[in-house]
Symmetry: C2
C-alpha cells in the first residue's frame, strides 16, 4: 500500500460529465465539490460528519462506535462494573470491528429484531429520519446467546462483550433487546437454502444459541489483530481521508477473496481508462480483499496480502492510483444476498463505483452437484437492490487467456478457440503441483507467493504425519 501526501484541491473542479447509460446502470450522485482537508488524526470523533466530495455514507454520516481516547478509562471502569458478560467468538469480534468503524452505517450496534426482520425480508432498513428512505442491509449482523447467558443477563439493560484469550472487555452493548433466534428461517432467507454444509452456518450459526441480543455498541478501543496486517486495516473514515488526499474524483472498489491474476488487473486498468474517458480526472482503485472469516480451502489472508503486494511491486497495477486495504467483514458465501453487503459497505468507505463479477460471493451447492447460485443473479440483484441506487454498478467483463497474444485479454466471442479459461480450481491445482500457468496469466512474483503457500501446506502436512508416525 502506498499513501501520497495530501494535495491542494481546486475549489472549482470540473464537473464530470454524466456517464453514458451503458457504463452506469444507475444515476451518479457523485458530488464534485471537493475541499482541502487538513491532515488530522485518524481516529474520528463520534458522529463527526465526514466532509469532502465523496459519495455520502448511508444514513448521511459515518457511524463511529469507538470510544474517544480520553473517555476510554472511564468506559473500562464502567465495563468492569457490569455483571452481565457475553463472550465474543472470533467472528463476533470481526462484526464488532465492522460495526465500530461504520462499514454498516447507519447501524449503531448488533441488530435488534426490527432490523433483523427488515434485513431478512427486505434486504434494507428504513432510515429513522421519517423521510421513508432506505439503506441497503442484506446480511444479518447479530449476536447470539444461549439460554444460560440469557438468564445471566436477567433484567439488565446492558452487557459487556469480552473477547480474546483473556476475556478482556471489548465493548459495552446497551439498551439491549433479546429476541428469538430462529436459525432455520435466518438461514433459509439469507442463503436461499437450508442444505447442510454452508461454511458460515457450520462455523457460527449451527452451534449458536437460540437468542439474539441487539443494542447500541460502544467499543472501548479500536479492534487490532496484531498479525502484521493491521496497517492495511483502514477504516471507512481513513479510506475517505486517503481518497481525499489523493484528490480522487471517482473511487471504484474491487472486492476479492482470491489471488489477483492479470485478468483482474486488466479489468481494473480498463475500468480506470473508461472512467477517464467519461471525464473523471483521477479515478482511484480501492483493491479491497476481504479479511474476516473465509472457508478452509480459500487462500488465507496473510498469503493473499503478500500476493497483492507483489502485484503492485511488479507494476501490474499502478500504486499511484491504487489503494490496497483490508475489508474486515467475515464471508457468508451467500451470493446475491451477500454481494449487496459488499457493495453497501464500500459506499460507506467512499466508493461510488463497484465492480461486480460472475457469481459474486458464490460457491458450489453444499449437497447438489451445481453452483449454489445462478452466476448472473448477483449482478442482477445488485442492480435492483434497495438503497444502492446511488452506487454505479460495473459488471465484470469476461477476461480469459488469449493464446494468440499470450496474455489475459477480454474474451472475444468471434474467436472462442483462441481463449483459455483458467478457473480458480485450475489455478490452485497448478500452484499445488508447482506447475506454471501460461506466461502472462499472473505476474511471476505473485505466482511464487501462491506456490510458497501450497508448499507451506505440504510442509505442515508432512510434519503432522511425521509427528503421528513417531511413537510418543
Amino acid at each position: 500500500m502506498t499513501r501520497n501526501p495530501p494535495q491542494k484541491v481546486s475549489e472549482h473542479p470540473q464537473i464530470p460529465p454524466k456517464p453514458p447509460p451503458s457504463m452506469a446502470s444507475m444515476a451518479i450522485l457523485f458530488t464534485p465539490h471537493m475541499t482541502h482537508i487538513t491532515p488530522r488524526p485518524l481516529t474520528l470523533r463520534r458522529g463527526r460528519p465526514v466532509s469532502c466530495g465523496l459519495i455520502e455514507p448511508d444514513g448521511g454520516r459515518l457511524v463511529d462506535l469507538v470510544v474517544p481516547g480520553p473517555l476510554r478509562d472511564a468506559k473500562r471502569r464502567e465495563a468492569a462494573s457490569i455483571p452481565a458478560r457475553v463472550r465474543l467468538s472470533r467472528i463476533d469480534l470481526e462484526w464488532v470491528h465492522v460495526l465500530s468503524e461504520g462499514w454498516a452505517s447507519p447501524l449503531s450496534g448488533f441488530m435488534r429484531e426490527t432490523e433483523f426482520l427488515q434485513t431478512l425480508h427486505f434486504n434494507s432498513l428504513r432510515v429513522a429520519d421519517g423521510s421513508g428512505s432506505v439503506v441497503n442491509m442484506s446480511v444479518p449482523i447479530v449476536l447470539s446467546i444461549d439460554d444460560s447467558q440469557r438468564q445471566a443477563v436477567g433484567g439488565s439493560d446492558r452487557v459487556v462483550l469480552v473477547g480474546g484469550s483473556d476475556d478482556e472487555p471489548v465493548a459495552v452493548l446497551s439498551n439491549i433487546e433479546i429476541y428469538k433466534h430462529n436459525k432455520e428461517e435466518r438461514i433459509a432467507r439469507t442463503w436461499g437454502t437450508t442444505a447442510p454444509g454452508l461454511p458460515y452456518v457450520e462455523e457460527t450459526i449451527a452451534k449458536a444459541g437460540h437468542w439474539l441480543i441487539g443494542g447500541d455498541l460502544e467499543v472501548i478501543e479500536p479492534i487490532k489483530y496484531n498479525d502484521g496486517l493491521d496497517q492495511y486495516r483502514l477504516s471507512p473514515a481513513q479510506l475517505r481521508e486517503e481518497f481525499t488526499h489523493r484528490n480522487a474524483d471517482a473511487v471504484f472498489a474491487f472486492q476479492l477473496r482470491n489471488p489477483v491474476h492479470n485478468g483482474h488487473a486488466l479489468l481494473m486498468t480498463d475500468t480506470r481508462r473508461r472512467l477517464l474517458e467519461m471525464g473523471y480526472k483521477n479515478p482511484i482503485l480501492l483493491l479491497h480483499p476481504l479479511g474476516g472469516y473465509t472457508k478452509a480451502d480459500d487462500v488465507p489472508l496473510s498469503w493473499r496480502m503478500k500476493q497483492h503486494e507483489k502485484v503492485l511491486e511488479d507494476g501490474v497495477l499502478n500504486p499511484e492510483t491504487t489503494v490496497v486495504a483490508i475489508f474486515p467483514s467475515p464471508m457468508h458465501y451467500a451470493g446475491p444476498t451477500e454481494v449487496q453487503w459488499h457493495a453497501k459497505a464500500r459506499i460507506n468507505a467512499g466508493a461510488n463505483f463497484y465492480i461486480v463479477g460472475r457469481d459474486p460471493a458464490g460457491m458450489s451447492h453444499p449437497v447438489e452437484k451445481r453452483d449454489l447460485y445462478d452466476a448472473d443473479h448477483g449482478k442482477k440483484v445488485l442492480a435492483m437492490a434497495p438503497g444502492l441506487q446511488k452506487l454505479n454498478i460495473l459488471p465484470f467483463k469476461v477476461a480469459a487467456y488469449d493464446k494468440t497474444q499470450r496474455k489475459m485479454a477480454f474474451f472475444d466471442p468471434s474467436r472462442p478457440q483462441d481463449f483459455l479459461f483458467i478457473s480458480g480450481t485450475k489455478m490452485r491445482t497448478l500452484a499445488k503441483n508447482r506447475e506454471n500457468p501460461p506466461d502472462g496469466f499472473m505476474c511471476p512474483g505473485g505466482w511464487k507467493v501462491l506456490v510458497d503457500y501450497y508448499d507451506s501446506l505440504d510442509k505442515l502436512e508432512k510434519d503432522k504425519k511425521l509427528r503421528e508416525t513417531v511413537p510418543a
Copy 2:
C-alpha cells in the same frame, strides 16, 4: 352480500382529521376528493384510471388484463393460431384471475426474472417510471413449464394458455421470457424453510417444471368458476365502484380463511367505531374471504360463504356498512411474507385500512412441533414493508370468551381467569362432535353451517367406507 344503489356524493366533503398516531402506524394518504360516478358497466376498459377518492392503486392505475368484449373474437382467433400451448393447473388459473383483475397491479402478467428476483430478495418491485418508488410484491406470481414444454415453445415470443376440462384458450402470454426455476431457492426465500410438507409447495411447486415463463398477459374472457359464487367475486374495479356508490370515506379490509365468530365481529365493529371517532363519516368494511387454493383441513370456500351469509343475516355485522366479496388468490401459508400480499392486494381494491391478526397466514411447522412463524412477525413485517407505507395497519386486538359477560370481548389482562380462548382447532373439534360452543361465541345460524359441513364430511366418509366394503 348486499349492494346499495349509488348515492350522490357531495363535491366538498369534510376532510377527515389525521388519525392519532396510536391508531395509524403510517401516514394516511387518503385523498378526500370524491366525485359522483355515474353507474357504468362493471368491465372496465384496459388502463382506464379508476377515479374517486379511494386510495390510489399501486403504480397509479389499476391493471385490467381482460380483453375488451368487441376484441375477444379476434383474440380467440389469434390464440388459435399460436402453436405453443401451456396448460394451466387450477392454481395457475387462479393466478391468471388475480393478475387479470389487477389485484397485483402494476404487474401485467406472470413475472419475468427481474420481477421474480426482486420479489424473492426485496418483497417489492421498482416502478418503471424512473421515480425510484417501489410497490410491495412479496409472493412470486409465476408460471412453471417443464423441459418438453420449453422445447415446444422454441423461439416463439408468445404462447397460448389453455385451461379447464376441454383445454380451451384462456389467455395469450406475449413477449415471453423463460428462465430457470430454482425451486429450493424460491421455497427457502418465500417460506423461510425448506421442510417437506408445506401445503402450497406440495400442491404446486414440488411437481412443477424447472423453468418459469413470464410475459404480458391478455385474458380472453373474465375468469368464471360457475360454482354459484361468482357473484361474490368482485374485481378491484368493482369493489372500488361499490365503495364509491356507498360513499365510503374509509375502507377497512378483513382477510380471512376461517368461519367468522363473534370475536372477529367484535373487532370489525370496534374498528368501525374507532374510525368514526377519528372523524371518518362512513367507514365501510370489506369482509374478504380468500377464495383460491386452501389446504385440505381448512373449511372449503362454499361452506365459509354460507357461514358468512348467516353472520350478516343474523345481524352480527351490519349489511349497510359491510361488503362481502371473495379474494380470488390461492393461499401460500407463508406467514409474514404472504400477509404483505394480502394487504397489498386490498390497496388495489380500494382499502386504506388493513386489520392484521396474530400469526397471519401462519400454520404449524410441517415437521417440528411449533408454529412455523413467530406470531408477532406478521404484523411487525407488515408495518415495515416497502410499498405499504400508504396503508394503515390496524393490529388485531385479542378477543376471547368472557365467561362473566357470556360473550366475546376484548381480553382484559387484569382478570385473565374470566376469559376462555377457543382456538380454531377447538372450534373445529366442537363442530365435528356436534357440540355447542359457549353461548355468544358464534351466531347460531353460522354455527349450524359449520356443523352441517362436518356432517357432510362424515356422510362422505361413511359412503366411501360403504363402497369399499361392498364387493365389486
